[in-house]
């Protein structure tokens, strides 16, 4: 009979990493896409041009980036812009976004749902309701199925 070894080193090894048949995503780190232009967005916010700020902040989402800091910064900026809208203005703002942008907005909203704060939840839910009436259930499905998250 084999003597049982006291070594438990194997428990620290993630066997799935060594599976040669494992599906690996196409690893393209898109570090060039650094997220929305902070300066531009800030300018729009100061000028009270909320809709322009919205369009600017939803451009260039850092989807390919592996840099967590970039993503956090982008999300924080998006949340600031979303909070600057009054509840009654949200619907009009969403109506002006095209399909692709609504999908990007959805991605940010769900990212926000992951780490809710006291103030953010209500804002995110208001935006979510309007975004769904524009993009439909399909936009939510695309957030769930897209391998690259914002």
């Amino acid at each position: 009979m084999a003597k049982s070894t006291r070594s438990t080193k194997f428990r620290k090894v993630n066997v799935d990493d060594f599976d040669e048949n494992r599906f690996r995503d196409d690893e393209q780190t898109d570090d060039a896409v650094t997220g929305p232009d902070e300066a531009e967005v800030n300018q729009y916010l100061l000028q009270k041009k909320n809709t322009d700020a919205l369009h600017a902040v939803l451009r260039n989402p850092p989807v390919g980036s592996k840099n967590q800091a970039t993503k956090d910064k982008a999300y924080a900026l998006v949340l600031r812009v979303l909070s600057s809208f009054k509840a009654s203005e949200v619907e009009n703002a969403v109506k002006q976004l095209d399909k692709e942008t609504v999908d990007i907005l959805m991605k940010y909203l769900y990212k926000g749902f992951l780490t809710p704060t006291e103030k953010s939840s209500a804002i995110l839910l208001t935006w979510h309701e309007k975004a769904v009436s524009s993009g439909g259930l399909g936009s939510i499905v695309r957030v769930l199925t897209d391998r690259k998250s914002v």
Binding site: G136, L137, G138, V141, R142
Partner: protein, 357 residues
């Protein structure tokens, strides 16, 4: 008016009609295949084919040669031949170590392709000398389960959708039985297993469909998108991301019109003019007072519901579409893919519905 036929409470995993549409083979989500005969407008169960040991995932009935091929999660496929009035099975050795997901006869019915979770497609042809079915594998560069198949009209090219987010066109040329194929818009080199095209960028591909000419390939994926690639137009992909729930199957009903079905329980019509645009046309299950029964919504009932169930929603649980649950398969019932007159859908609600175009 769509004709609805109910086949019990179990989901219909897949269905296939015979040549004159007098019989249909149905897999009711278990290891059996039920053959129904049409008797005076109603479907009556004729035979039960039970050779599979696990769930049957796909059935295909060859119209000319009148043979049925079935495959299942038990990693086997059987070819059924009618002897007298009984169906006799022949086992086909697929050499796969995972479930088979989809099986389709080729247009000439001399071979069939089986998609599997073993990340490969098994193309089977009959070897006359040894009197049995042999299989050849298409493996590269498939990286995950193959979910759906469709043959090109030339009997050689095969479209496959997979959960590695790609739809591909392969050559399934078997030199033992196929004459040398002519070049098509997809390419010239057609050695067995040669990938002629690969596309797709998000979501599992659930259904693929060649147009009748074979120059266009449509596929639907889990990110609620419909794609069409036109081989004659430099293989440009037209894509539309929809606001509906994901689609599970699609079929061309003319050279420009595509019907997609899926989790929305409602067939949808899209049109593609061969260029880069796909446009949504309409929901094909539009009117439907057919599904919803007119419940007299008296005030009394409303308060009763509020009291008993705590809800003010008086619409009940019935869907207002003909199908009450997701539609999983669509087939052409009358006509061809180039000019369909009727098509048929089957779904998780156990219903088979025949629609007029």
């Amino acid at each position: 008016m769509p004709e609805k036929h109910t086949f019990g409470v179990h989901p219909i995993t897949c269905h296939s009609f015979n040549a004159d549409r007098s019989q249909v083979a149905i897999a009711p989500n278990n290891n059996e295949v039920h053959i129904y005969k049409k008797v005076g407008g109603k479907w009556e169960k004729d035979q039960v084919l039970s050779e599979h040991s696990q769930r049957v995932t796909s059935v295909d009935w060859a119209p000319e040669s009148n043979r049925i091929v079935t495959c299942g999660t038990d990693r086997n496929a059987y070819v059924w031949v009618l002897q007298g009035s009984e169906w006799k099975p022949t086992l086909v050795i697929l050499r796969i170590n995972r479930a088979a997901t989809c099986v389709r006869w080729s247009p000439k019915e001399d071979k069939f392709a089986v998609a599997s979770g073993a990340r490969l497609i098994s193309v089977c042809y009959f070897n006359q000398e040894n009197d049995w079915w042999e299989s050849k594998h298409i493996k590269k560069p498939i990286r995950s389960t193959v979910t759906s198949l469709d043959w090109h009209a030339n009997n050689v090219l095969l479209a496959a959708g997979s959960t590695d987010f790609k739809a591909r066109v392969f050559s399934a040329y078997i030199k033992e039985i196929d004459p040398k194929p002519e070049a098509t818009a997809w390419g010239k080199k057609m050695t067995f297993g040669n990938m002629m095209y690969e596309g797709g960028n998000g979501g599992w591909v659930h259904g693929v469909s060649f147009s009748e000419s074979g120059n266009k390939l449509a596929w639907v994926s889990h990110n609620s998108a419909v794609h069409v690639v036109n081989a004659e137009q430099d293989k440009t992909v037209a894509e539309i991301k929809t606001e509906y729930l994901p689609f599970l199957a699609c079929s061309w009903i003319s050279e420009t019109n595509l019907v997609v079905v899926g989790h929305d329980c409602n067939p949808l019509l899209f049109t593609n003019d061969g260029q880069e645009n796909i446009a949504f046309v309409k929901k094909l299950d539009g009117a439907s007072g057919a599904g919803k029964q007119s419940e007299t919504k008296s005030a009394m009932n409303m308060f009763k519901d509020m009291d008993k169930r705590g809800t003010t929603d008086t619409s009940g649980t019935k869907q207002d579409t003909v199908h009450q649950n997701a539609i999983t398969e669509i087939s052409i019932y009358a006509g061809t893919k180039g000019k369909a007159i009727k098509y048929c859908t089957s779904g998780v609600d156990g219903n088979l519905v025949i629609w007029t175009v």
